[in-house]
Each structure stands twice: as structure tokens, then as C-alpha cells.
Symmetry: C2
Subunit: 414 residues, 2 copies
């Protein structure tokens, strides 16, 4: 089953929002064994929508369309679809009742917009959207299935999981694609590629290898189409094994595991509690940890000591240390981490202090200078980083390098 | 000037990464007066790359291609480009010297991969990439300009800003597009649309209006092509003015301003300092504030009190309060905010406590129950939210609603 995705929205073409829907849909479709062959982003214009659906249909058995179904006047996907398929728009009483029921629950009176949302192309097979007012629509054309969904992520996700994918799997014969991903930290893409080049050369032709660097981590992905059955899975698994053997020091996890997940899992297994003391990362390490469900068993909390006063008052960093070495120094991050352990009563703590930029650099400590410390009662690890001039990038890199340091620390000590 | 963007990478088609490059490029191109007409994502396959370039070229004067230029073996954009244009690959000595100079600076020895990176199509006009090893390439075809850039965001951004856009502006006659964006918080898309429906109906036909909801905020975007010169700008500005007059209570900013920016700016002007006490948002409010350059003038820091112990020990929340009302309650968020003011010595503090999910809900306090408090020495504001079952969404919504509360509080009191 070949699938094209058409994302509708001027807001994407002018760069006002990022298309995260396509990535999510592609992921789900792949796991279900579909092959996403093209993603096209089209404008809100009637003719552009029709053109893009036509282009997308040329190479695919299924065209998934998102966006342009809201109650506001800029949403015209439905009309373009009706014109493209040459059918009438009709009023759907059941859709209207669903919408009015939903908005009344939130204490909102139905508007004229909600009535317009209930007009659908006459050949619509309705996919019930329990998460919102815009309906999902399935159209059976001769050689293609067209599916239209709202662009609001959780509504689209509900429809994909509960309506679209189950129906598609029933309808088409699909071969699953096998993916394996090795997740590494503490090593760059080029060096990694060099280290496993001889293994890559020996892999069977049907296995594709890709390096995907992202914020101080690199994923190595092996993929193969499973038409040959179990042998493919075995060959991919063997490839993964050989690669991991070569670079085991840098492999923190597999598949979708994040550094935060791996750190929390190990800590939970070993009954280790964790806290943070963040300056330049401003709470981002803490955020990465707390996005993981159940993190509260391990992560007790942290202190964002953005000002020097808070470094002293909440973490007990000495004023002499700040005067002598500065806030961005090995001595300061050590006192921050020690102070976090004391303030939060945890087994280990990680601290980060640096100059995220764009301002604040000096010749001796340019923008991008960052110190990281991980410690427990007995051992202290520190590391100095020299990162870029980009503030957000520095925050994200520092946070991942700090989590890498925590990961190595707990693997060594617990 | 019509532009198509082709993004190359299997990792996007299988949903492993999100294509943020296209959004950034589209934004820059729009501001320069270009019109992005299509974004296509293609696989790493040789023929798919060629097909997508051909499709993209059909509707555009310029095709911008990103991705597939790294030192690893899965990167074949260059070869596909050479085959598509029917030219040879040649070794570029200057590219090789640039690459070896760059990697030696990081203490890395040049690899065979770096030598392969220096092979370029014979008709390449080189665009110097000061941020990395992969070169930018410009190709002048009869009726189209093809441009190939690396997929690493900051390398692509450097090339766009310093090489690509300046050259394109020189080469093509471009009419700027005028965009104005009104940013609102505390009101939903449908109600907003209804409130300004009469203004929308009166707008000139050449102005397009769009509603863009995102995480408890809604942007209203007006856009028009500037072929008619100043009248278009004036008409758009007048439209903005009329809309803002109607919904002024909900307008926190314009264009790219974020809630965090607006809050920090107002606080800085009024010399107000700010701190946070976060439970379920786990440092995300603090992160949103600290991504803004210069935030340290206003934001002193915060406490992520994930455990009840930290709520008591660092923020002074009373054990009786936690026992009687629970950690997710009005009484607790008030004590958290009061405690943050005391611990950090700031003028105002914002606190958040809730059940982010997916676990931890009870019949009385289901997942998605969140309490927010903003206070200073004299006044206290609290609000209860009932959000979704999605952990990350709950964190992001809570954070934005907390910042909305801070914004209203400082507009009222300072």
C-alpha cells in the first residue's frame, strides 16, 4: 500500500507553523506496513488543493489529506474535494448533532460556522471524530482511497488510530517494513560512520543504513522491507548486534528511547533519586525528565538558579567561589550540584552553568562556554563544553550532554 | 518568484524526524517577497529525488533542495542532481581544503567520507558553508535555478541568509507579501471567529484572514500580496486595527511575539522581578521564559517541586494543606506561589500544580485537572483548568495558560 500525504495550509507555506502531523502520520503508517512515498504541502487555495491531490494520487493507492476543516471561513478543503470528485455538497444531520452536542458540553452556543461544518460531499463515508467538531471523511474512488481529516493534531491522531489505519489494513495487503534504531550519545556522526564503515560494507544489499544526528545524539537506523519474511528481521537484528558490539560505549538505547527515559529507567531499577540545578538550561533538563510518565518516582525536583543570588541562597554556592571563578566555572557547577543534593535530599544531582548567548560572552569565556557536573556523595564528574552562538541550540545541546553525563555516571556507579 | 522546496530524507517519510527546515525556509523566502508554492518530501532514493525535483520545477522558478549531503553513504543528492542535469562529478580541491581545515580545528582527522564530500557536479557554482563541511551548490538551468543545501538546520540557515536569499533577490523581480499577525490568549478559535465575523465580511477581497490555534493561544493572520503598493499595507493595517478594537482584552501581542516575551518585556519596563514554582509543568514555564535572550533581568529562577517533600522544604507548603486539600488544589498553589516569592525574593511568582497524566487521576480530580496561581505581596489570582488526557499537551497548555495569567496580572497591577 503506497500512501501520499497532502497537508493543507498557507500557514505552513509561509512558515508560520511547522508540519508535525505528517511525521506522526508517516510513523503510524510505516508501522502498519504502508509505504509513505510522498508528502506534499499545498496552499489553502481551491485549485492548489485539487492539483496537489491529483499529484499525490498519481503515485499512491491512498491519499491522506489533513487541514482545512475548521469552522472558520478560510477552510475550503471539503469544497475542493467535492469539486474534484464532481459531487454535490449535502447537509449531514448526524454531523450537525454531533457538533452541537460537543460544543454545548463546553457551554458554547452553536454558531453558523458549526452549521457549515456539517455540509459534506455527497459520497462521504463518515469517520466519527470523538475529539472535536470537524468530521473525518473517507471517499472510495475507482483506484484510490481519499481520506480527509482535520489538521488539529489530537483530532487527526484519534481518527488515524481508531478509524483510518484499522480500515486501511483491512482493505490493502501490506508487508511490514522492519526498522531498528540504535541511539548513541557522546560521539559525532563522521567518527561513528568511520568506526562502523567495515560493518556497513558487509551488510546485505536489502538493508539500508542511515545516520541521523540530532542535538548531541546520533541515531543509526537500519531498515528493510519484510517481503522475504523472517530472514530480513534476522539480518537486521544481526546488523544491529555487530554495530553495537563495535560502539557499545556510546549506545544508550534503542528505537524511540530518549536519554531522559534511559536515565529514569536505570535510576528506578537501582532505586536512585535525582535532582537538577540549572542555570543556562533554565529548566530544560527538568522538562525533558518530567515529560516522561512516571518520572516522579526518580526525579524529586530541581532548582532553576538563574541569578547568582539564587545560586547562593537556594544552592549554597559560596560568594567567594562566584567572585573568584565566576558563575560559569567548574567550581560553581560542583557547588551547585552538591547544593542540589542537600536541598532536595536526593542520591545524585546534575548541574549546568553556561553562557547560552547571544550576549554575555567574554574573551576568556565566549558564548557557548558551558560547565556540567554530576555528583553523588562520593564521586564528582565535570565536563566543559564549547558550543555555538545559537541560544536555543546551546540550551538543547547542553541539556542532552548533561543527561549523557548522568547516564554514564549511573551506569558506572549503580 | 515562485519557489518549491524539496526536502530529502527517508527519516522524514518514515516519521522519524520532523521537517522543521521547510518552515524556516518558507518564512525567510516569504519575507523576501518570494511565494512558496509547494513543499515536497522525497525519499533518499536516486530516482525519487530526480522525480521530485522535476515535479517541483514544473510549478516554480527556483527549487531549493535540502538534505542528503553528509559524509555518510546514504547521502546521494549530489549524484542524483548530476544525473538529472546530465553532467559529470568532479573533485573540488577548494572544497576539500575547506573541509579538512574545518575538521582539523575540532581535532578530527579527515576521513574518506570527507574526500567524497568534495566531489561535486561539474556545473556547480559553490556557495561557501562556513558552518560545516557540506557545500552549498547553485545550478543555473535554462528557466530555473536549482539550489542544494545540507539538511543540518544551522548550516542551511547560514547558507540561506548569507548566500541564497541575497543572490535570489538580485536575480528575480519580487513583490513583497504583507503579513500581519494578531496574537490572542484566553479565547477559543470559534468564539473568536464569531466575534470578528462582521469585520471579516467587510475586509477587501485581496486580504486573506486565517485563524491559527496553537496550545491555548490563537493567532489571527491577515495577508495580502503587495502588487498594489502602499494601499495594501494600509488596508491590512486598518483590518488589524478594527479586529484588535473588537477583541482587545485577548490580544497579548503581534507578529512573532510570544507570551513569554510579552511578559518579560512588560516586567522589565516596570522593573518587576518574576519567579516560578512548578509541579506538573516540570520546568517548562521556566524554559519558555529562559529561551528569551536577556530574560535574566526579570526572571530570577524557580523551583521545580515535583515531590511533596520539596513543596514543603523549599516552598514552605504546609503538610496540613497537602493532607487536607491535596497537592493539586487552590490552597497548595497559593502556598507554592507565596513560597516562591519568599525563597527567591521576587515581586511576583507563578505556580502550577496538576495531574499531567496519563496516570494519577481520581474521580474527584481526573487527569488534566490543573491549578494555577499568580500572586504578589498584595493580590492573589487563581484558576482551575480541566485539560486533556495527553501528558505533553497538558504541560504545554498549562504553561501557556499560566503565562497568560501572569500577563493579565502584570497588566492589571504594574
Amino acid at each position: 500500500m503506497k500512501v501520499s500525504i497532502v497537508t493543507i495550509g498557507d500557514e505552513i507555506l509561509i512558515g508560520q507553523i511547522i508540519d508535525t502531523n505528517s511525521a506522526w502520520m508517516a510513523q503510524q503508517l510505516n508501522m502498519a506496513g504502508a509505504k509513505v512515498v510522498k508528502i506534499i504541502t499545498a496552499s489553502d487555495g481551491h485549485d492548489d488543493i485539487i492539483d496537489s491531490i491529483r499529484q499525490a494520487r498519481e503515485v499512491a493507492d491512498v491519499v491522506l489529506i489533513t487541514g482545512g476543516l475548521g469552522p472558520t471561513k478560510d477552510d475550503i478543503t471539503k469544497i475542493a474535494l467535492a469539486d474534484y470528485m464532481n459531487v454535490e455538497m449535502v447537509f449531514s444531520q448526524s454531523t450537525y448533532e454531533h457538533i452541537t452536542g460537543l460544543v454545548k458540553k463546553y457551554g458554547i452556543n452553536p454558531t453558523e460556522g458549526h452549521r457549515m461544518q456539517s455540509m459534506l460531499p455527497a459520497n462521504t463515508v463518515l469517520l466519527e471524530n470523538k475529539m472535536g467538531t470537524a468530521p473525518g471523511m473517507w471517499f472510495d474512488l475507482e483506484d484510490t482511497v481519499l481520506i480527509s481529516m482535520p489538521g488539529v493534531p489530537y483530532e487527526m491522531q484519534y481518527l488515524m488510530e481508531n478509524e483510518v489505519i484499522p480500515r486501511l489494513v483491512k482493505r490493502f495487503d501490506v508487508y511490514p517494513i522492519i526498522h531498528r534504531t540504535i541511539r548513541t550519545a557522546g560521539i559525532g556522526e563522521s567518527v561513528l560512520a568511520d568506526k562502523i564503515s567495515h560493518i556497513e560494507d558487509d551488510l546485505p544489499d536489502f538493508i539500508k543504513l542511515a545516520f541521523l544526528p540530532s542535538k548531541a545524539t546520533v541515531r543509526i537506523r537500519l531498515s528493510a522491507r519484510a517481503e522475504n519474511g523472517e530472514d530480513v528481521q534476522k539480518a537486521v537484528d544481526e546488523g544491529v548486534e555487530k554495530i553495537v558490539e563495535e560502539i557499545s560505549d556510546f549506545v544508550f538505547g534503542y528505537e524511540k528511547q530518549t536519554l531522559a527515559e534511559v536515565v529514569l529507567k536505570r535510576c528506578q531499577e537501582r532505586k536512585v533519586t535525582l535532582s537538577t540545578a540549572e542555570s543556562c538550561t533554565g529548566g530544560f533538563v527538568s522538562h525533558l525528565l518530567t515529560t516522561i510518565p512516571g518520572s516522579s518516582v526518580v526525579f524529586q525536583g530541581g532548582i532553576v538558579s538563574y541569578s547568582n543570588d539564587l545560586k547562593m541562597n537556594l544552592l549554597g554556592v559560596k560568594s567567594q567561589t562566584l567572585e573568584k571563578h565566576g558563575a560559569v566555572s567548574e567550581a560553581t557547577v560542583i557547588e551547585m550540584a552538591k547544593g542540589a543534593i542537600k536541598a532536595t535530599n536526593t542520591d545524585i544531582a546534575v548541574s549546568i552553568s553556561g553562557i547560552a548567548g547571544p550576549g554575555g560572552g567574554t574573551p576568556g569565556k565566549p558564548v557557548g562556554t558551558v560547565w556540567v557536573c554530576v555528583c553523588n556523595e562520593k564521586d564528582i564528574f565535570t565536563r566543559k563544553l564549547q558550543l555555538s552562538k545559537d541560544r536555543l541550540k546551546n540550551i538543547e545541546y547542553s541539556a542532552n550532554i548533561a543527561l549523557t553525563a548522568v547516564w554514564r555516571f549511573i551506569m558506572k556507579h549503580y
